[in-house]
């Protein structure tokens, strides 16, 4: 961002002070934080409804609306343009729905179609506008990639008000939203008007996307919707916690993204915010305790160890069975041709008091024999 051009690096304390004193920086930080929170919140619904890519389609579909609003009014007033974007986003959404319900084309085709066709039409209009003898048209293309630096205080107010309305509606219809999300048929039988609830959620998703166009731009807006929600999903199974977490992740992506892009030259805010959000997702994918890849792998290895331990025990049992005295000692060497045996599993068996080790010999204890025989019967009944 330009206002920090002279400084290559701003240390954190100085930066925080700047956030509170510098008008532009404060506006942008607040704006991106609010945007992240509202998209994260509504994105949770999109992700759970398997409409993840809807955001991508809508944000692209909003482009012709911006161009047409400009062509009609000739003004570059943000609110007018965003209204146009809202209308064309909604048209796109309902056309997608029409294609999916009325024809045999699948939803991915419908999304791709609307996305590319609307975007292409928008580009046609934008280039058409550029050729017009009207000096006012410059700056429309900021909606392509977004320019957080152009946010002003009134934009932030608009965002805050819309977020407030979203929050209010969400809290009022929380029960309806939730039940529709998880069991649409049941909702219908309970007598709720599912169509209305559905349209309500979708409209708010469209609204959130349109709000973000100025900051993040058409192309990257879908990530703002998805990433915080996908990250939040990993930490909880409860909808309310997920929505809250997604809002927090979204807000932090906004704040951190703004901070990083402000501390460097030539870094546009939108892509940085998206990357920060992606880092949140990657972190959640790996380190989430219940679903994360890391702990899943650890559990996987632990399970395999347990299985191998059982295998070793069963093998020992098979040997011991052939002798009258079950505690008759055998050479450890006997186990060597068996894969499940390692020094540590053997030690574990000793720790559990299943096996006794005496020099190079091992012998099964009474307890070990009993466990192993149960293990065996359990296995054999499972096999049948």
């Amino acid at each position: 961002m330009r206002f920090l051009l002279s400084q290559e690096f701003v240390d954190i304390k100085e930066y925080i002070e700047l956030v509170f004193t510098d008008y532009t920086l404060r506006t942008i930080t607040l704006g991106t934080a609010i945007l992240g929170a509202v998209t994260g919140m509504l994105g949770s619904f999109a992700v759970l409804r398997k409409q993840s890519l809807l955001g991508d389609a809508i944000s692209h579909a909003a482009l012709p609306g911006i161009a047409i609003a400009f062509l009609i009014t000739g003004a570059k007033d943000t609110n007018t343009l965003l209204l146009g974007a809202l209308v064309s986003g909604l048209i796109g959404t309902f056309w997608i729905r029409g294609i999916v319900t009325k024809t045999h084309l699948k939803s991915d085709t419908a999304l791709g179609l609307i996305l590319s066709l609307f975007f292409g039409f928008g580009m046609l209009l934008l280039t058409f506008i550029q050729k017009q003898p009207n000096a006012n048209q410059a700056g429309l293309d900021k909606y392509l990639f977004g320019q957080a630096a152009t946010l002003v205080e009134s934009d932030v107010w608009t965002m805050a008000i819309v977020t407030g309305i979203c929050l209010l509606v969400m809290l009022t219809f929380w029960k309806e939203f939730k039940i529709l999300l998880f069991d649409a048929d049941y909702t219908k039988t309970l007598g709720f008007n599912t169509k209305t609830i559905d349209i309500l959620i979708t409209s708010f998703i469209v609204l959130a996307i349109v709000l973000g166009l100025q900051t993040v731009g058409v192309v990257l807006m879908s990530a703002m919707l998805l990433a915080p929600a996908a990250a939040a999903r990993q930490w909880t199974n409860s909808l309310s916690v997920m929505v809250l977490l997604a809002a927090i992740f979204g807000a932090f992506s906004g704040v951190f993204g703004t901070a990083i892009s402000a501390s460097q030259n030539n870094l546009s805010t939108g892509p940085v915010i998206v990357l920060v959000a992606s880092v949140f997702v990657a972190f959640s994918f790996i380190f989430s305790p219940s679903r994360g890849l890391l702990f899943k792998q650890i559990r996987f290895i632990k399970n395999r160890r347990d299985l191998e331990l059982h295998k070793t025990l069963a093998f020992m049992y098979n040997i011991a069975e052939t002798h009258e005295d079950i505690s008759h000692p055998h050479a450890i060497k006997l186990l060597n041709n068996f894969q499940g045996y390692t020094r540590s599993t053997l030690q574990k068996l000793v720790d559990k008091d299943y096996v006794k080790i005496d020099g190079n010999m091992w012998s099964l204890t009474e307890r070990g024999f009993e466990t192993a025989s149960n293990l065996y019967t359990k296995q054999s009944t499972e096999d049948e």
């Binding site: 955001g55 024809t103 046609l124 392509l144 192309v219 990530a223 030539n266 992606s278 890849l293």
Partner: protein, 386 residues
């Protein structure tokens, strides 16, 4: 028409054909959004390639970009396999991240790189004829014509060579696998072709509009036919038509050629979407209306068969008892009369012999759970459909 104009139209048509072929299979395999993901995420590949070669048309750049496209597919599939998020979310997570990396790389090196995100995303076909390929001092045509021509040639030869395999694996994955065609090879083959096509076309029509050229003609064709070969031919036809017609619209409006090609594609799709003979919206809605009326008719006939009492068979009864609107009961009665299913005497409705036979058969089918056959039976009995 100047030679530059002819060349532009030729390039646009070749791009359209090269996109339509993989696009058809993407649409059929429900992977249309993958093309969108690839078209965005090749950006970092293009940027890195450009840093190395400083030439937007170098083959290395195309290879690197195509490689990034395949990385996208692999990443998406990896995330899908972990089961942490739904499949479409995986797509939506991967490509914005890669695209952001590309945008940041361009921005950080903006001073020494002559590369514009707009140019990559939107392309400018109008300049394509100026970048010419010169071999041994002779001018053999625009570079992008040669690039897209090569890609098209490879695509067509792959299509002809593996048509059977592609067809089987598209419609029946299990059968394809059991016949010994590796689903993975076909899948990644298709993905590679899509990546290469996207990259090859990006400087002509722009990366995002490649998506339009891939999906729209195929989707339009899919509304008109269910035969794979016809669908391929139709989507190629739609692609070429939109390319040429779109060029002239752009010429007339003095606007972006790629944008206007997409707009024409959109209009063609809209027309077919509304008016396609059996799958268009209007045809579907007409059929739904007809079905609704015929079901009402059947309900009414069943009612007549169940009741002999005069009070249950009065014309007015339809409104009062079955609770139908006036217009609806009128139209149902008309339909029944036209088909000779009922007689009306002194406002009392009774079944004719034909109506009785029809109803008995229908009851038979309903009790034995063969409701679908009522549809065939209608053809035998109905003179007029609802």
């Amino acid at each position: 028409m100047s030679s530059a104009q002819i060349e532009i139209q030729l390039i646009a048509s070749l791009v359209a054909v090269a996109c339509a072929i993989p696009g058809t299979f993407l649409v059929l395999r429900k992977m249309a959004m993958i093309s969108d993901a690839i078209s965005h995420s090749i950006l970092p590949g293009i940027v890195i390639g450009f840093f190395i070669t400083h030439d937007l048309n170098s083959p290395l750049l195309i290879l690197l970009a195509a490689f990034t496209g395949i990385i996208t597919v692999v990443l998406v599939e990896y995330i899908q396999k972990t089961g942490l998020v739904k499949e479409d979310t995986a797509i939506g997570l991967v490509f914005p991240a890669l695209f952001s990396i590309g945008v940041i790389m361009i921005a950080k090196n903006a001073n020494d790189v002559h590369l514009d995100v707009d140019a990559v995303l939107l392309g400018e076909l109008a300049f394509a004829p100026f970048d010419r390929l010169i071999i041994g001092g002779t001018d053999v045509g625009p570079k992008s014509l040669w690039i897209i021509g090569m890609i098209l040639l490879i695509t067509i030869s792959l299509l002809i060579a593996f048509f059977k395999e592609l067809k089987v694996s598209t419609f029946d994955k299990g059968l394809a696998a059991s016949l010994g065609f590796s689903p993975a090879i076909i899948h990644y083959g298709l993905m590679s072709v899509s990546s290469v096509t996207t990259v090859g076309a990006f400087d002509a029509v722009g990366a995002i509009l490649v998506v339009a050229l891939m999906i729209a003609p195929a989707a339009t064709a899919y509304l008109l036919t269910t035969d794979l070969k016809k669908m391929l031919a139709l989507s190629i036809g739609f692609g070429i038509f939109s390319a040429v017609f779109g060029y002239w619209v752009a010429h007339w409006l003095d606007a972006s050629i790629a944008g206007s090609i997409t707009t024409v594609l959109g209009l063609v799709f809209l027309l077919v979407y509304l008016f396609a003979p059996s799958k268009g919206v209007i045809a579907v809605m007409y059929r739904e209306k007809q079905q609704r009326k015929e079901v009402s008719l059947l309900t009414f006939l069943l009612h007549l068969k169940n009741h002999d009492e005069i009070s249950e068979r009065h014309v007015k009864h339809l409104n009062e008892h079955i609770n139908w609107q006036k217009v609806r009961s009128r139209s149902v009665l008309d339909l029944a009369l036209k088909n000779n299913m009922i007689d009306i005497e002194n406002q009392i409705v009774s079944l004719t012999k034909k109506g009785d036979e029809f109803t008995s058969k229908a009851i038979d089918y309903i009790i034995t759970n063969r409701d679908a056959q009522i549809e065939d039976m209608k053809d035998d009995f109905f003179l007029f459909r609802g």
